[in-house]
């Protein structure tokens, strides 16, 4: 089954880190990504730019309404994701718990929709 691991972290926290800490953080994510890939579980991954770069779009009365900013203002923001393919939820939870974001934020585990053929 495919699961999307969504990483919610406080994006302001990043800029408060020293360059050495930032480097350490990047290395942790790279190692994690490498481990996923070696296990044959990684299907895709991206880090997102901060919510200040976000734009929200919705159609109202047929007209697109474009708003500056993220959809939800929250303490933690979606900062990136890993798409993984593992046998079951327990395996997905186990990978989520190893993700560096689980230490300084929250990882939401969501199964990917499968069309019933």
């Amino acid at each position: 089954m495919q699961y999307l691991l969504m990483l919610y972290v406080q994006e302001k926290g990043w800029s408060k880190l020293t360059p050495a800490e930032q480097q350490q953080g990047v290395a942790a994510y790279m190692a994690y990504s490498e481990a996923l890939s070696k296990a044959g579980a990684l299907r895709g991954s991206n880090r997102l730019q901060s919510t200040s770069a976000a734009t929200t779009v919705r159609l109202t009365d047929g007209k697109p309404q474009v708003l500056d900013g993220p959809y939800v203002e929250s303490k933690e923001q979606l900062g990136g994701y890993f798409l993984i393919d593992v046998p079951d939820l327990d395996a997905a939870i186990s990978w989520a718990s190893r993700c560096p974001a689980a230490t300084h934020g929250v990882v939401e585990v969501r199964p990917v929709w499968v069309n019933p053929a």
Binding site: M1, Y3, P87, D88, L89, D90, A91, A92, I93, V109, P111, P116, A117
Partner: protein, 423 residues
């Protein structure tokens, strides 16, 4: 015997065979059918159709030699029909292959052994991804086949709300891909706690009907005992499983003594040990001993040991408050539960006086859960009265009485409140 009487007798026999198979095999069949598809609801639907077919078929053709195998064959056919109906093309043939493989071997009437995956099913029901409050109802439904209506009444919720929550939990199991497996050895300890907690929650719900007037709730303690026994059979080397069953048997053994002949509440200290079920107590003690030999302590073993200590004190007439207090200390260390803190304070009061007990009692202003917990106010009232703080004791009794839902316990507290002040 007339034809119709014969038919009635046959029907009764068929029904009782079907009931017996249902009781013994329901969870086994659900676990086996759902194990491959992770679809508990579909397995239950197929199985209930199979039971309906059995009630129509068996009185006519006689009970099959392997009723479980018969039910499994029919249920499997229903599941496959349903899958065919919902899907088409190649995806379904791959899935059907998965479904039939193994299922046909197990349904073979000649080989009666259906692998027992009920433990895996229990771990599914108590999975951390399943909402805590629905785990016990889910287990009662999927492992024992209880109807949502009966579960709802036992848990004091509306049948519609309970049914909705059960459906939601089963959807979650299927959609999130919760595995039907017993966790690895390294993880089993943490995950087993959730299974045992759910069994104990079912027991506690049934237990709160002390008068035994509500059949649905009284039966719940029996169903929970069945689950606990099943867990000890499936995991005979898990000390906490043995501890839980021991604890539950100790409580069950005193059921009759909890009420006087005229329905009044009788506290443990005033119960007649002659009314206790001693064979059940002996079984509880043996289980606790077996658990102790495995040398890993846990919450349920400590609680069972406390029950054992209470029984010994009442039976022998010898005070054992030092060991009771020690056990509560250990339990408090382990759980940090405010309920444990209350009982610990009561034991300390017996050991070192009411003032010491009162000092050890947690403060409801620090923990709002306590503010609405009847036993907290009852313990507080009793300790206050014993230190001579009668006005405060009266107020605490008022709180306890106002929070109690059982009229017999309310009357007991009112008698305590009105008791003459012995100072």
């Amino acid at each position: 015997m007339s034809q119709s009487a014969l038919a009635r007798a046959d029907n009764a026999l068929t029904r009782s065979t079907a009931d017996a198979v249902a009781r013994r095999s329901y969870g086994k069949l659900v676990a086996f059918l759902a194990g491959r598809t992770r679809d508990v609801a579909a397995a239950e639907d197929a199985l209930s159709e199979a039971f309906a077919a059995a009630l129509a078929d068996w009185p006519v053709k006689g009970c099959p030699a392997n009723p479980e195998g018969w039910l499994l064959t029919v249920a499997r056919r229903k599941i496959i029909d349903l899958a065919r109906h919902q899907r088409s093309g190649e995806a379904v043939s791959a899935e059907l292959e998965l479904l039939t493989e193994g299922l046909s071997a197990a349904a073979d009437e000649a080989s009666p052994a259906i692998p027992d995956h009920r433990l895996a099913l229990m771990f599914v029901c108590a999975h951390p991804a399943v909402e805590v409050g629905i785990r016990a109802p889910l287990m009662l439904q999927t492992v024992l086949g209880l109807e949502a209506n009966a579960i709802a009444s036992a848990f004091l919720t509306s049948p519609a709300a309970m049914a909705k929550r059960l459906v939601r939990a089963k959807d979650k199991i299927r959609q999130a891909g919760i595995p039907f497996s017993v966790p690895e050895y390294s993880e089993i300890a943490g995950r087993l706690d959730a299974v045992l907690d759910a069994i104990y929650a079912a027991f506690a719900e049934g237990w709160s009907d002390a008068a035994g007037t509500d059949a649905a709730r009284r039966e719940l303690t029996e169903e929970a005992l069945f689950l606990a026994r099943l867990a000890t059979e499936l995991l005979p080397q898990a000390p906490e499983t043995l501890g839980l069953l021991s604890l539950m048997l100790h409580a069950e053994a005193r059921r009759r003594a909890r009420r006087s002949s005229d329905g009044e509440y009788v506290p443990l200290a005033e119960q007649d040990p002659g009314l206790w079920d001693w064979p059940l107590i002996a079984e509880a003690e043996a289980l606790l001993k077996r658990a102790g030999a495995l040398r890993t302590i846990g919450r349920y073993q400590l609680e069972a040991a406390l029950q054992s200590a209470h029984v010994h004190r009442r039976h022998s007439g010898r005070e054992n408050w030092p060991s009771v207090a020690l056990l509560y200390d250990a339990l408090w260390e382990l759980t940090g539960s405010p309920v444990v803190a209350i009982n610990r304070a009561v034991a300390i009061a017996e050991l070192r006086g009411a003032a010491a007990g009162l000092a050890a009692l947690p403060d409801a202003t620090d923990d709002e859960r306590l503010a609405e917990y009847q036993p907290y106010w009852a313990a507080r009232a009793d300790l206050l009265a014993r230190t001579g703080a009668h006005a405060e004791a009266q107020r605490a009794y008022e709180m306890a009485i106002g929070l109690e839902r059982d009229p017999a316990v309310r009357r007991f507290l009112q008698r305590r409140q009105a008791a003459p002040k012995i100072e």
